[in-house]
Symmetry: C2
Subunit: 254 residues, 2 copies
Amino acid sequence: MGSTKTSAKVVTGCMIIIGNEILSGRTQDTNLNYLAKALNELGVRMQEARVIPDVESVIVETVNECRAKFDYVFTTGGIGPTHDDITAACMAKAFDTELELHPDIVEVIKRREAPPEIMESRLLMARAPKGAVLIDNSTGGPQGFQIGNVFVMAGVPMVMQAMTDSLDNTRIPGGAPVRSRTIGAYLGESQVAKQLGKIQDQHPDVDLGSYPFYREDGYGTNLVVRGTDEVELEEMIEKIRAMIHSFDVEPIKE
Amino acid sequence: MGSTKTSAKVVTGCMIIIGNEILSGRTQDTNLNYLAKALNELGVRMQEARVIPDVESVIVETVNECRAKFDYVFTTGGIGPTHDDITAACMAKAFDTELELHPDIVEVIKRREAPPEIMESRLLMARAPKGAVLIDNSTGGPQGFQIGNVFVMAGVPMVMQAMTDSLDNTRIPGGAPVRSRTIGAYLGESQVAKQLGKIQDQHPDVDLGSYPFYREDGYGTNLVVRGTDEVELEEMIEKIRAMIHSFDVEPIKE
């Protein structure tokens, strides 16, 4: 809830997680959370995330839908050397361009020697659509790439994180960084619901969320305000603090 | 990769995670992984998952798109008592039906006494579209509900898990349970890539995935086969084991 200031353009982002292993439950995704936090700093609002299987038609369709709908798209997964790594080929198809071996990725791959058959497989990681611009990979492995407004990154968290860390506002001109403040209380959501709704109404540009928790010493609710105007966030936290005190309860710091 | 047997109908599922807190990075989702594993047992293939914000138009549109596209849809989040809990209302809108207070949920809520204003907020958790069938909640809190092929569950993991656990094949007639086997080796993905591709080609009905790992004692790859025919899975694992031995390396059990 809470639309953002109409005066400043909101820069939007979408994440596409490519990987059967997430959908099958084999692997717990952590890349969404990492990217979400990085986008807050870049001033990009993640508006949607999709987890899709390693199926060409689905990848191509999803990428084309999302790159038209959002300012930036970030994909993870499917850029390794095996038969199920089809992301680079799908990107070429989505952008209706050639798939080629990018010379700068080839160079990185060839730094480490390998027998011919293994090198042949490793070079599959150098595939990128014509015109792609690389994304640095400080782990020393093959780079990711950007084509149009789509950033294509690895699925292995360590590598995905290195690639994400290389992105900055010169490359992704976002808006003001998105900040959040949290305050909690041992009060049920139902107790605070009405007053929270009023506070949200008074501050339509800030997102006010409430998240129940259950602990050994009791249950309660964390209240989170999220927006770009730090003065307004502090104002709201003050209102929420006063509301908590009105129940004769002490707020807790999260 | 690996299409499923054409002889047996594949029962498909889609998950919709409703919640700004996931997209903002405040909360690490774990519900997708829990549902994915439960769907394997039910014989439902999760084909896609989407994370969307607490915005009415987005929820309604996404639900209508997904319920037409997949056999079953499972949503989590947005059924609490506060201003940002709009899932039940959105479901009524998506199904073009009335939103009402479901008497069986009202009964559960009224079991625990509360002052009038708090009870009024708590009763918001009894909202469900007309015609909804309830989903049990063994934690003792308000139930979830099913309308058409859409199952609407809580976002709090403990509650979501209780609701998921209540679903069985009488309610969701899936296919054969989906099983998987894993075998690993201290071999790079590039070393095994070619032979894996061949094994995948020989078994198009089984999904063969390879997942690199990096540990203190070296790097390697886990190989996962996934399908409904356990005999075929064992056959593939034997082929992969032989391939690993051909490198003079011992397979490792995961």
